[in-house]
Point group: C2
Chain length 395, copies 2
DNA sequence: CCCCTTCTTTTCCCTCGTCAATAAAAGAAG
DNA sequence: CTTCTTTTATTGACGAGGGAAAAGAAGGGG
């Protein structure tokens, strides 16, 4: 049993209350009647559940709706008071710790980054503690308590147990990060995979609100994918899921670090793009930003590299669409800076390669400031606060 | 509202009762205490739910366990009385109607096939009615009532509404098959996609019992895939899901009828194999059986065709494993007759192409008599009988 | 014959959510 | 200005469903 530090606990104990709160949280101000409709509960149940939540300050009566219909008693919308509680989200990358301070509605209230010299668990913990301490002092200025910390790590993470099973990037195995960090920072800590955390943020606070089946595709150094099926984030039986980056796109393609050839990541990952641009132009391109510049400058051969990358990503998304039939695909990640360079290819390839009505799935892109990853971590902390027993809550 | 004919209805009204019954149904004879453990309910709740089910004859006390431990009151296992109710399953193919009679435990009690001359809805309905009538007379001899009919059709099927949205094979669009068939046969009818139906059978009565995440891959004329995620069969937001057959394996591969190149089905589907064997040998091979014979006879080039097919299937499965991380993959279908010809390739490719621990997923094969498809349909009827309101019940 | 162990049942209780009736807050109608 | 209509919110009685605890049942062992 991981020690749970003594902090305020959320006053919604019944499943119905959590469901009602979550609905209001992600679907904005809603009248009680509207909540009842969306949760398939009776209006009476909503009233009863809402009352203690208002008393505890988590919900507030919203200003009456301007565009109210002429007839009947005016509706009395309710919304979550974001300022009632604060949360921290921390993203651990190979060389940096990125932290954000968010409110209960997962709006960013502060941010902090710190370089990471050593990737071993202890130094990482220390670095996390530093970032957390700084953010806590920011929180202090706001005069609101921090109710939980979420940590996002790439790799195989067991959120229920709070253990990092295996992170190739950090070279960790079976590190009980939640427990360790919780002892260090004195707050409840939730640990989850980074892409899943981002997916949680979209599910509760982003473009996935109200959807029971969607996918988040991240384009950057790696190509990742978070899946929501039946309203729940997919975690995979063995900790692996959403590895769209290692879907084979062309068995004769370039070798991938995973040992295969022609993975999406081996064609459209940042490193792969830089390499291909270098090969195509002879210019000693250093990073993705330089490659994008070359492309925009019209250097011959560079656009073709991005076109191929777009095709690879499109095929990866088409595969997801064929297998799961999501309602929407949300494309995100640092690589979106170059989105104009492959948008068309992604769309075209998806349309061509998706089977039947799978091609109908809506594709959205969202710009991703780097703090977004940390915000995802905060979203998992918010989930854990609201539904402490459910390791992978549904919509 | 589809008319529901007057028949006996299942006496488990509460969610807990359904859950308890389902657990006993698929997990064999269980003591009440064991049921309580597996459903996370209290022993008292189990006793209360079991009583009316025994009174109604759906559950029976099993013979006491032989290998009982020396201590304490002997356990009193309970099991489902399969003979208490009968169901029909009907699979509609392009040229044939296949029907089975099963008991409540989905054990086959009879079978009937009838050729299909015309694929239009009306002739198909007539043919279904004929097969159903014959099976009903078989049921009559058993002296047990038939409580529902399941119909499995390939294509985009909306089970909740009982409508075949689009079936390319039959060239149907928006046919309200459940309603029509129900009127014709005078019994409740459930309509579902064929691969999903097969998946349901595995989930409740086969190799998927107790698993919350697994995949069923069917190898035959087409290559299909049923997915169970979070304990529920995946249906897809637009009716498409599990289209593993149209996952691209080699963008430079042979053209597929779907318009792309190098789909799994274009390499490993029955038609594709026959074509490739013909090309490789010059022999005028007619069907898959002949191709298998040639392969076993050692005709040069034929085994290579199967090897390529196995590789394609393996890549498809690896893709599923990478994206969803299932606990198990169940390979099934008529094409299994040639399983020895590609077993090795499937395994090897899966191991190589799966990312990280995704390769750990267990792969099982099950021989598939053709009635199995119809049995899947019966399984959906059993589900509908037990949980009438839930179109896609969980474990 | 009594005790011990384990499974099952009973009894009581409590929680949660629905139902139905009521209150509340407007504008509309007269 | 009063009364009616319409819609939203609240209240309180009721009941179903499941849990806790204790008793009962069915053996074996001392």
């Amino acid at each position: 049993m991981r020690p749970t530090p003594r902090v305020e606990t959320f006053p919604a104990n019944t499943p119905a209350a959590s469901q009602i709160f979550t609905t209001v949280l992600s679907q904005g101000p809603l009248t009680r009647l509207e909540v009842a409709r969306r949760t398939a509960l009776s209006p009476a149940a909503v009233t009863k559940a809402v009352k203690p939540l208002i008393e505890a300050g988590y919900l507030v009566e919203d200003a009456a709706d301007e565009a109210r219909p002429a007839l009947g008693r005016p509706a009395n919308p309710v919304r979550v008071d974001g300022g009632r509680a604060l949360f921290l989200g921390v993203k651990v990358t190979g060389d940096e710790i990125i932290g954000v301070l968010t409110d209960l509605c997962c709006r960013t209230r502060g941010a902090r980054r710190a370089p990471l010299a050593d990737r071993a668990p202890q130094p990482v913990l220390t670095a996390i503690a530093d970032v957390v301490a700084e953010l806590l002092s920011q929180a202090n200025e706001l005069g609101v308590g921090v109710h939980g910390v979420g940590v996002a790590v790439s790799g195989d993470v067991d959120r229920a147990e709070g253990v990092v099973r295996y992170s190739p990037f950090l070279n960790w195995r079976d590190v009980p990060l939640a427990e360790l960090a919780s002892l260090t920072v004195g707050l409840p800590v939730t640990v989850d995979n980074d892409v899943r955390a981002l997916t949680v943020a979209e599910q509760w606070f982003g473009a996935g609100v109200g959807l029971s089946d969607f996918a988040v595709v991240t384009v950057g150094a790696g190509i990742g994918c978070g899946l929501v099926v039946h309203g729940r984030v997919v975690a995979g039986a063995h900790g692996v899921a959403g590895e769209i980056g290692h879907v084979t796109v062309d068995p004769a393609g370039p070798p991938c670090h995973c040992g295969n050839r022609g993975c999406v990541e081996a064609i459209a990952g940042e490193e792969a793009i830089v390499r291909q641009v270098r090969e195509a132009t002879g210019v000693e391109v250093r990073d993705a930003a330089e490659a994008v510049t070359l492309a925009h400058r019209g250097v011959p051969g560079v656009r073709e590299v991005y076109a191929r990358a777009g095709e690879a990503i499109g095929r990866g998304i088409a595969t997801v669409a064929n297998l799961l039939g999501p309602e929407r695909v949300i494309i995100s990640g640092e690589g979106l800076a170059a989105y104009d360079l492959f948008a068309e290819q992604i769309r075209d390839t998806l349309t061509a390669a998706a089977f039947g009505s799978a091609a109908q799935c809506d594709v959205q892109t969202r710009p991703l400031p780097f703090e977004e990853w940390a915000r995802g971590a905060a979203a998992t902390a918010i989930q854990s606060f609201i539904t402490p027993d459910d390791p992978h809550p549904s919509r």
